[in-house]
């Protein structure tokens, strides 16, 4: 069986953020205003949003909090980010050391 879900007819339901954003960031009439916003930046942002968010609340509910860690989306610089950078640096260093070690018969 298939389901049809209709928004409740009584009173407008709060629309899903992704549905709104795909309309007002990807659609809607583009008029060149005086203040230029780099649409590419916005498109990049939309792609991320489309990938991940139904609504901020729902996203939090299912444990998605990418915008809190994504440096492109958050003005703050959370601690986890620094830890990630540190991790990557360490992994690179380990790879370096492993490569430097002579492996018998590998060549």
């Amino acid at each position: 069986m298939s389901d049809l879900s209709y928004p409740t007819s009584a009173g407008p339901a709060t629309p899903n953020l992704a549905d709104i954003l795909e309309r007002i960031l990807d659609n809607g009439l583009v008029i060149a205003g005086d203040i230029k916003i780099n649409l590419l930046d916005i498109e990049l942002l939309t792609i991320k949003v489309r990938l991940l968010v139904a609504s901020v609340d729902k996203a939090r509910e299912i444990g998605i909090d990418w915008w809190e860690r994504d440096p492109g989306l958050s003005s703050g610089k959370p601690r986890e980010l620094e830890a990630e950078v540190e991790n990557r640096r360490l992994r690179e260093r380990i790879a370096e050391l492993e490569n430097a070690e002579p492996e018998g018969g590998s060549r």
Partner: protein, 258 residues
């Protein structure tokens, strides 16, 4: 002297802005109309420092502040389309001052006029088709326990994946039928990219994400058609949103054509 910039939400046929009541614009600014002949720009003032490229960037880069702006934008556009035919603008259309907004109306009058005529009496409906992914419990797939639990596990996963892929192929076929029938009944159709499965609370796969421009008077028939298509379509869920302002059909028509 007015040094404020103007944020514009839509171009519409004239209406009484007093009826818009409690609806406010971005940053709670009051809605103002700028009129040129038989069209108006629906705008609100924005302090020049907020309208700078850097300030806007910062605002759009943070989901919470972008969401607030997006919802304010959408709320104004919704209020406008309840009162008059309107062409919804994309987020963040900003001019230095009202003189520039009126200039936009004057230069684009023929195109705005033709587009408003096309959108008159019509609404946008959103339709999403999801594949119903209801994988049966693993026990129903692998009854026998061999001496290799690892292999059993992999086999179970493979069977599940195959079922899912079959289900999603089937759903794509159904979605194509649904889309063809709805496009036929609608004035225009626009396809959006499917939304990621992660977006959906139950992670259902979105196989069709479309918008249809429908005559407002045909809405009941549109809903009936969707229901009928849904009942003929096993294994999918159809989600309808709208009526929306015609965001997905807001490209400008060339003015002056017959």
């Amino acid at each position: 002297m007015n040094a404020d910039a103007c944020y514009t939400y839509a171009v519409a046929r004239p209406f009484d802005v007093a009826t818009i009541g409690p609806v406010r614009g971005v940053d709670d600014a009051a809605i103002r109309l700028f009129r040129y002949r038989d069209i108006v720009a629906v705008s609100s003032a924005m302090p020049p420092e907020a309208a700078e490229e850097g300030a806007l960037r910062t605002r759009l880069e943070t989901l919470e502040s972008m969401e607030a702006m997006a919802r304010a934008h959408h709320a104004v556009v919704e209020a406008v389309v309840e009162r008059a035919v309107a062409i919804p603008f994309r987020l963040a259309t900003i001019h230095h001052d009202e003189r520039r907004v009126i200039g936009m109306l004057r230069h684009g009058h023929a195109e705005f006029d033709a587009t408003l005529n096309r959108l008159a009496g019509r609404v946008e409906m959103g339709v999403k088709v999801y594949a119903n992914i209801s994988a049966p419990p693993p026990t129903s797939i692998v009854a026998s326990v061999s001496d290799s639990p690892g292999r059993d596990y992999l086999r179970t996963r493979r069977v599940e994946r195959n079922q899912r892929e079959r289900g999603s192929r089937q759903a794509v076929d159904v979605a194509e039928r649904v889309d063809a029938a709805l496009a036929e009944s609608a004035v225009e159709r626009a396809l959006h990219r499917p939304q990621a499965a992660r977006l959906h609370i139950d992670r259902a796969e979105n196989v069709l994400n479309a918008a249809y421009l429908v005559e407002a008077r045909d809405l009941p028939a549109f809903h009936t058609l969707v229901r009928r298509l849904g009942s003929d379509a096993p294994g999918v869920r159809i989600e309808v949103t709208g009526p929306w302002p015609a965001y997905s059909f807001a490209s400008l028509d060339s003015g002056g054509e017959p």
